[in-house]
């Protein structure tokens, strides 16, 4: 399985994702420059965290028009796996591959901390190593992670089980006190209706080895690989 990590000017988690996939999980992985226009030959694209284009105008707004993005959008629309982490999630929202938008954190602080997440859907290509309701610990680091969607969109997300992660406490309780940024419904990650594009504010690449303080992120990447290998076995 071959991964591509897209590097925008201002990405700063690209090397962490590359390390997680290449060194920790032992998968073939390449950097893809934002000026490239071809993603042929890749099985999963990762849009990493950072501050693409300085977050000018809105986080992800300018990156969404980078030369590589039409290829990313085509790849996603034809069923390719796309994972957007933090700034990558913001770019996917701006690109319309996921519904909703990000606002500034309600606390107005840049939040850099460990968070507990409740896995709301363990049946996606990105979460199949988790069981539904499981509590995982993955850190966040953002100033604009206050997810917003209008009431109709939220209903749709809930009905179709597109909310994948919610901020909770270590017991899995989802309350206003466990919400670090004001996101509606404590939403930390969502998937598209088709189930191949996941956006999440927490950083799984920052917890892939015990030396980093946790390994729950490793399971997310391992889920992707398991899913892919399962599909290969079925000859899909």
């Amino acid at each position: 399985m071959k991964f591509g990590v897209i590097v925008f000017p201002g990405s700063n988690c690209d090397q962490d994702v590359y390390h997680a996939l290449g060194s920790v999980l032992g998968q073939p992985v390449d950097y893809l420059w934002h000026g490239d226009t071809d993603v042929t030959g890749y099985d999963c694209l990762v849009l990493p965290g950072g501050f693409s284009y300085g977050d000018y105008l809105r986080a992800g707004a300018i990156a969404r028009f980078a030369p590589i993005m039409p290829a990313v959008i085509d790849f996603a629309r034809s069923g390719g796996l796309v994972l957007g982490i933090c700034n990558g999630f913001q770019i996917l929202l701006e690109a319309g591959l996921l519904p909703g938008a990000m606002r500034r954190n309600d606390c107005l602080q840049f939040r850099c901390q460990w968070t507990y997440l409740k896995v709301e859907n363990g049946a996606t290509p990105f979460t199949n190593r988790f069981r539904e309701g499981q509590v995982v610990r993955i850190p966040i680091a953002h100033g604009e992670g206050n997810y917003y969607a209008d009431a109709a969109t939220l209903r749709e997300l809930e009905t179709n089980r597109q909310v994948v992660f919610r901020y909770c406490n270590e017991n899995g309780e989802v309350t206003p006190a466990t919400n670090p940024n004001g996101s509606v419904g404590n939403i930390a990650g969502i998937i598209n209706r088709e189930g191949n594009v996941l956006g999440m504010m927490p950083h799984p690449e920052r917890c892939v080895e015990s030396i980093l303080g946790g390994t729950d992120g490793r399971e997310l990447f391992a889920s992707i690989i398991d899913w892919w290998q399962g599909r290969e076995r079925l000859g899909a």
């Binding site: 606002r103 500034r104 606390c107 107005l108 206050n146």
Partner: protein, 93 residues
């Protein structure tokens, strides 16, 4: 030449943490009777166009595609002759 003055603001009802903080600051300074503060963006785009209709269409498209996020923001704009060319007063302050 035309100058587009574009105002991008959060839609009514969308929480504005920055506005809330600014309001808190103003109140702390002693200003009374403030009921709301909303923070938005102001952009100036210079266009090498004289056709106002064409310029308007371009600015509309720019706003829809990039300058505003229609999920949470709204926009409005004016088209003016750039300062120096116009007979309008120059900005003060």
């Amino acid at each position: 030449m035309l100058l587009a003055k574009i105002y991008v603001t959060l839609k009514p009802g969308v929480l504005d943490p920055q506005g809330e903080a600014v309001m808190g600051g103003l109140k702390a300074m002693g200003y009374e009777g403030i009921t709301a503060v909303r923070v938005g963006k102001y952009l100036e785009v210079q266009l090498d166009l004289d056709d106002r209709e064409k310029a308007g269409q371009q600015v509309e498209e720019m706003c829809r595609r990039l300058l505003a996020n229609p999920v949470i923001e709204q926009y409005r704009y004016t088209l003016e002759e750039p300062a120096g060319l116009s007979t309008e007063e120059s900005p003060r302050g």
